[in-house]
Amino acid sequence: MAADEPLVLGIETSCDETGVGIVRGTTLLADAVASSVDTHARFGGVVPEIASRAHLEAMVPTIERALKEAGVSARDLDGIAVTSGPGLAGALLVGVSAAKAYAYALGKPLYGVNHLASHICVDQLEHGPLPEPTMALLVSGGHSSLLLAPDITADVRPLGATIDDAAGEAFDKIARVLDLGFPGGPVIDRLAREGDPKAIAFPRGLTGPRDAPYDFSFSGLKTSVARWIEAKRAAGEEVPVRDVAASFQEAVVDVLTRKAVRACKDEGVDHLMIGGGVAANSRLRALAQERCERAGIRLRVPRPKLCTDNGAMVAALGAEMVARNRLPSDLELSADSSLPVTEPHVPGTAHTHAHDHDHVHEISKDNLYS
């Protein structure tokens, strides 16, 4: 770790985790997280107002915990980064307001960054600098997308995304049908290990020859699994929970990995990054490994704690913004619940000319891979 690498504190409040991370360049120094997931569990999903209230309570203590964990002084920071979107509007606003106040009080540059780009950039803390371009599969309760990132600070291109439910949402819904509680991912992963993934042939959405090659759909799968379970129950038969979990999970990860590997081949990218909460799924990791190996693709998946929402990922992207001299955000920075993935950060308007940003997207695809 070089002392001249940027020291950045990152704040993440887009959903139910209040995360504050500190990194120096691509080295993780602290990753403090306060979660309100237990409060949401009895509601079967994240309740936005409960999440926002919890963020306000946890914000300053989590910042202070992260600084202590990192053993650095706030005065030594080179920048403050914060998720400015996408996410829950009220929840984002708590983090953005805190980050602005912190940056202003300390006289540090502020970087409002994109949550999805952060999910990709976090892998720098695990496996070192990202190759350019990077192919990323992001899967969580809120998003399922395939992204191609020639430059994580300035150029992220969506190749495909879910047209209905996010992958993690499907896990939550099936867990609910099976009465397994919330969140559904970890418990289905655990039960599936004791089940037969081939027991039931559930449908693979959007995998026909005429379907969009990189888009996902999990709504049909969810309905099909629920109907299968209901039919068993209606017939008075016991539901083979482990086999259902394994077969459902297999349908999800089969589609995810198949499409991700295909995108790598089509775009000539020789490695794949997987991030987001669902990247903690053991079967997704195993199948992705197997298929990537077969295709000669190098797989990069951060450890589970860095896959779920956290502040370290925001700090990682913030550090990259500082390292590449990207323009900081200004004090008017707002929370944008639908910030497009094509905007890795929200530069200030003060001293820029408006078209700066668009030019980056005009670089022809061929230039990037030559």
Partner: protein
């Protein structure tokens, strides 16, 4: 600073008087407006944030999303600058301002709580609240406060229930800071900087999942 009403208001107070202040009314942009307002006020006063020795923030009651902007900003300033952060009930700030405008007690302060309700409290005089702030439908409290002047946007919004409506409509940070300075000088304790929501979050425990098999 206070963000518990549609006003985004910031003032710098030196313990004796207000040196600079800013007030903008925009119920939807608290997050964007607050920090630039802080910056403007400090610039107008010719000073920097490091010179601030304490932060006073309105703790509401007020619509939650906006309210939290002021509270988290104040708390973060407190942590970054190592200075104390004090809470003051937003309705107390409005009462204090009404008193300075010449209103004598008793009176009521009411702000807009949305959903056809008001946040309100009774005042003996401009500095003395009697009882805790509450949230109610105007018609439900009209009788209890009949004959009293009612100060604030909550009064202006519901003239049938509050015929004697008075200004100011929103809180000003100058009044909030002056009240806090007065109380601190008198050795009185201020509130913890924690939000007065007065309502539980809207959330329902789902009964069961929706059966998808067609009947």
């Amino acid at each position: 600073m206070d963000t518990a009403t549609p006003a985004v208001t910031v003032a710098l107070h030196d313990g004796t008087s207000v040196i600079a202040s800013s007030g903008q009314v925009d119920a939807r942009r608290h997050g964007e407006l607050l920090l630039p307002a802080v910056d403007r006020v400090l610039a107008e006063a010719g000073t920097k944030i490091d010179a601030v020795t304490g932060v006073v923030v309105g703790v509401g009651p007020g619509p939650y999303t906006g309210l939290r902007v002021g509270l988290v900003t104040a708390a973060t300033f407190g942590s970054a600058l190592s200075v104390p952060v004090h809470g003051v009930c937003t309705l107390d700030g409005i009462a204090y301002a009404a008193g300075r405008d010449g209103l004598e007690g008793p009176f009521v302060v009411a702000t807009d709580a949305r959903r056809k309700e008001v946040y309100w409290a009774r005042y003996e005089d401009a500095r003395t609240r009697t009882g805790e702030p509450a949230v109610d439908r105007p018609a439900d409290i009209a009788q209890a406060v009949a004959g009293l002047p009612v100060v604030g946007a909550g009064a202006v919004l519901y003239p049938e229930s509050f015929p004697d409506a008075r200004g100011p409509e929103h809180v000003s940070a100058g009044a909030l800071a002056a009240l806090a300075a007065e109380r601190l000088a008198a050795g009185q304790e201020l509130l913890e900087p924690r939000p007065l929501y007065l309502r539980r979050p809207d959330a329902q425990v789902p009964k069961n999942y929706k059966v998808v098999t067609p009947k």
